[in-house]
C-alpha cells in the first residue's frame, strides 16, 4: 500500500539564512501513529508546517494521500487536519461557531450532526455555546482538536499535543488518539515527551538539527538500539568489584547492594552464562535478579548525541 505521506528531499532555509531542515525523506504509512521526536528547534514544527502548507519548502516534494502539496494543494490540504502547538483560538467566538467555521474553511458542507457527535466525543457539547475565552486550557486544547477534525481529515497532525496539559487530560488525549487511529485516521505527533511516543506510537522518527536521524518501528528501534541490564541484588554488599568479574561490563550499584551487568540484546552471545558462571566460581550469592530494557528516552539521548557529534565532525571537515 502506498504511504499516505511521502516526503522527498525536503529542505528549508529561512530568509535569515537559518537552515531548519536538510534533505528529509520520510514515508508515513496509512493508519499508523507516527511520533516525530527531537529536541527544541530540531525542525519538527517546520516539517509539519511545510506538509500543512503554512511554510514554503526551499527544496523537495511532499505528497499527501497522493497529492502534491504545492501543485495540488486543495486536494492535499483537504485530507489534513492540524492541531498546532500554540493555543491559537478566536477568543470571542463560541465553540460551535468556531468548529463550524473550520469545517466550512476546508470546503465541507455544513453537517450539524457530525459536529455534534465530534463535540460530544471530545466532551465539549455542554460548552458548545460558551465563548472560547471562558474555557480552561484543557478545554481550549480540545476545541483545537475539534477544529482540526471538523472536516473529517484522513491525516491528523498533533504538534506537541500534551504540552502543558495535566495528567488526566493527557490520558484522555492518548485514549482519543487511539480511538482516531481505529477509525482509520493516520496520526503524526511531535513530542519531546518520550513516554508519549512510547505509549502511543507505532513508529518513531528522530529529528535533530534539521536531519531525520532515524525512522523505525518503535519496538524494533528499542530492540535494535536497546541495551539490557541484568541487575542482581547481592546477598552481601561489596566495596569494590571482585577480580573474578574483570573484563565483563559490570558495575556496582546501589551502594554496593547491586551488581549491574550490561549486555546487547542483538548479540548471539549475551555473556549472561559466563557472568553467572563467574559469580558461582567466586561464591558471590544474590537474593534476587531482574532485567531492564533501555527506555526510548535513553535511546533518543544516545541518537541525538551521536548526530550532534557527526554534525560537528562534518562542520569541521567540510
Amino acid at each position: 500500500m502506498e504511504p499516505i505521506i511521502t516526503a522527498r528531499g525536503v529542505g528549508k532555509t529561512y530568509q535569515g539564512g537559518f537552515t531548519a531542515l536538510r534533505d528529509v525523506d520520510l514515508d508515513i504509512q496509512r493508519g499508523e501513529i507516527f511520533a516525530l521526536l527531537g529536541p527544541n528547534g530540531a525542525g519538527k514544527t517546520t516539517l509539519i508546517s511545510i506538509i500543512c502548507g503554512i511554510v514554503n519548502p526551499s527544496s523537495g516534494t511532499v505528497l499527501a494521500d497522493g497529492h502534491d502539496i504545492i501543485r495540488d494543494y486543495r486536494a492535499a490540504r483537504s485530507k489534513i487536519g492540524l492541531v498546532p502547538q500554540e493555543l491559537s483560538t478566536d477568543a470571542f467566538e463560541s465553540v460551535w461557531a468556531t468548529v463550524n467555521f473550520s469545517r466550512g474553511l476546508f470546503g465541507k458542507a455544513p453537517n450539524p450532526e457530525y459536529i455534534e457527535k465530534l463535540l460530544r466525543q471530545l466532551s465539549l457539547w455542554e460548552k458548545k455555546d460558551s465563548r472560547i475565552m471562558a474555557l480552561s486550557g484543557g478545554m481550549k486544547r480540545r476545541v483545537m482538536i475539534a477544529k482540526a477534525l471538523s472536516h473529517e481529515p484522513k491525516i491528523l497532525f498533533l504538534d506537541e499535543p500534551t504540552a502543558g496539559v495535566d495528567v488526566e487530560l493527557r490520558q484522555d488525549m492518548w485514549q482519543m488518539v487511539h480511538g482516531l487511529r481505529e477509525s482509520g485516521v493516520t496520526i503524526i505527533l511531535t513530542t519531546h515527551y518520550i513516554e508519549e511516543a512510547e505509549e502511543m506510537a507505532d513508529r518513531v522518527g528522530v529529528i535533530n538539527r534539521g536531519r531525520l536521524v532515524l525512522v523505525d518501528d518503535k519496538r524494533t528501534l528499542m530492540q535494535k538500539m536497546g541495551e539490557k541490564e541484568l541487575r542482581l541484588q547481592l546477598a552481601r554488599p561489596m566495596n569494590a568489584l571482585p577480580e573474578a568479574l574483570a573484563g565483563l561490563r559490570v558495575e556496582l550499584g546501589d551502594d554496593g547492594q547491586q551488581l549491574i551487568y550490561h549486555f546487547d540484546i542483538r548479540s548471539d552471545d549475551t555473556g549472561i552464562t559466563e557472568f553467572l558462571r563467574r559469580l558461582n566460581d567466586a561464591n558471590i550469592d544474590f537474593r534476587d535478579l531482574h532485567t531492564r530494557e533501555s527506555s526510548l528516552e535513553e535511546i533518543f539521548v544516545g541518537l541525538v548525541k551521536g548526530a550532534r557529534e557527526q554534525s560537528m565532525e562534518e562542520e569541521s571537515n567540510p
Binding site: I54, T89, D90, E93, A97, N100, F101, G104, F106, G107
Partner: protein, 253 residues
C-alpha cells in the same frame, strides 16, 4: 472554487460586526450625524449654495465617502491583522482555499459592512437635509467600487502591519487628511489656482467628485476621469494583493 471556504470567512467576519454593533455601525453613524448637525445645519444654514446645491446636501457625498474610506480600511485591515496577531492565521494558511477566495471572504465582508454603513448614513442624512439622487445606479456603483477598493487597501495594510500602531497610522495620518482635503466639505473650485492644481494629486478628490456627480450631476473633475482613477486604484490594490500571496509577504515564510 471553495464556496464554503469563502462563505465561512465572510460569515465569520460579519459575525464580528454584529458582535460589535456599537463600534461597527452605531459609532460611525453617530459621528456622521454630528457632522450634519455642525456643518450641515449650524454652519451650513449661513452658507450659500455650491454649484446650485445647498451646503447641507452638498456635503452628503463627501461625508459618506469619509466614513466609507475609513471603515473599509479599518474593517479589512483588522479582519486580517487579528488572525495574524492571535496566531489563528495558521488555519487559513493550511486550508484548501486560494488567495482569491481568502480575499473574497475578507474583502467581501469588509465591503459589505461599509456599504451597509453608507446606506445608513444616507438614511440618517434624510433627517437633517433634503437631497435627490440624480443617478442612483451610478451612485451605487461608485459606493460598491470604492468600498471594495478600499477594503482591498485595508487588507494590504493589515498584512503589512505588525503592530497595532501601524494598523492605525495609514488611516489616521494619510487617508483622513486626504479625505478632508479632497473636497468632502467644499468644491475644489473654491481653492486658489495653485492649490486646485495641487489637490488634483489627491486621489480622494476623484472618488468624492465622481460620487457627488452621481447625486447632483455636478463634479469638480470629469466623471469619466473619476471612474478611471477609482478603477486604477482598484487595479493597484489587486496587484499588491497578488504580490503578497505570490511572495507570502508577512504571512508565510
Amino acid at each position: 472554487m471553495n464556496w464554503y471556504g469563502i462563505r465561512a470567512i465572510y460569515k465569520f467576519e460579519m459575525a464580528r460586526t454584529w458582535r460589535t454593533l456599537m463600534q461597527s455601525i452605531a459609532s460611525p453613524v453617530l459621528s456622521t450625524s454630528l457632522y450634519f448637525i455642525v456643518f450641515g445645519a449650524a454652519i451650513g444654514s449661513r452658507m450659500g449654495e455650491i454649484d446650485g446645491v445647498s451646503y447641507g446636501a452638498f456635503i452628503i457625498p463627501g461625508l459618506i465617502m469619509l466614513s466609507l474610506l475609513s471603515e473599509s480600511i479599518s474593517n479589512a485591515s483588522f479582519g486580517i491583522f487579528f488572525p495574524k496577531f492571535s496566531g489563528t492565521i495558521y488555519e487559513v494558511l493550511s486550508a484548501p482555499v486560494s488567495a482569491f477566495e481568502v480575499v473574497a471572504g475578507y474583502v467581501g465582508a469588509a465591503a459589505t459592512k461599509s456599504i451597509i454603513l453608507g446606506g445608513l448614513i444616507l438614511l440618517t442624512a434624510r433627517f437633517f437635509v433634503d437631497y435627490d439622487i440624480l443617478h442612483p445606479v451610478w451612485m451605487f456603483a461608485f459606493l460598491v467600487l470604492t468600498a471594495v477598493t478600499f477594503s482591498m487597501f485595508g487588507f494590504i495594510i493589515g498584512i503589512w502591519a505588525d503592530d497595532f500602531q501601524k494598523l492605525q497610522i495609514i488611516p489616521l495620518m494619510v487617508v483622513t487628511p486626504l479625505t478632508f482635503l479632497g473636497g468632502a466639505f467644499y468644491s475644489i473650485n473654491m481653492l486658489p489656482d495653485f492649490w486646485q492644481k495641487v489637490t488634483l494629486f489627491n486621489p480622494v478628490v476623484y472618488l468624492i467628485s465622481g460620487f457627488r456627480w452621481a447625486f447632483y450631476g455636478v463634479a469638480d473633475v470629469n466623471v469619466g476621469v473619476s471612474l478611471g482613477m477609482t478603477l486604477l486604484f482598484l487595479l493597484l490594490c489587486l496587484t499588491g494583493i497578488w504580490w503578497i500571496f505570490r511572495t507570502g509577504y508577512r504571512i508565510k515564510s
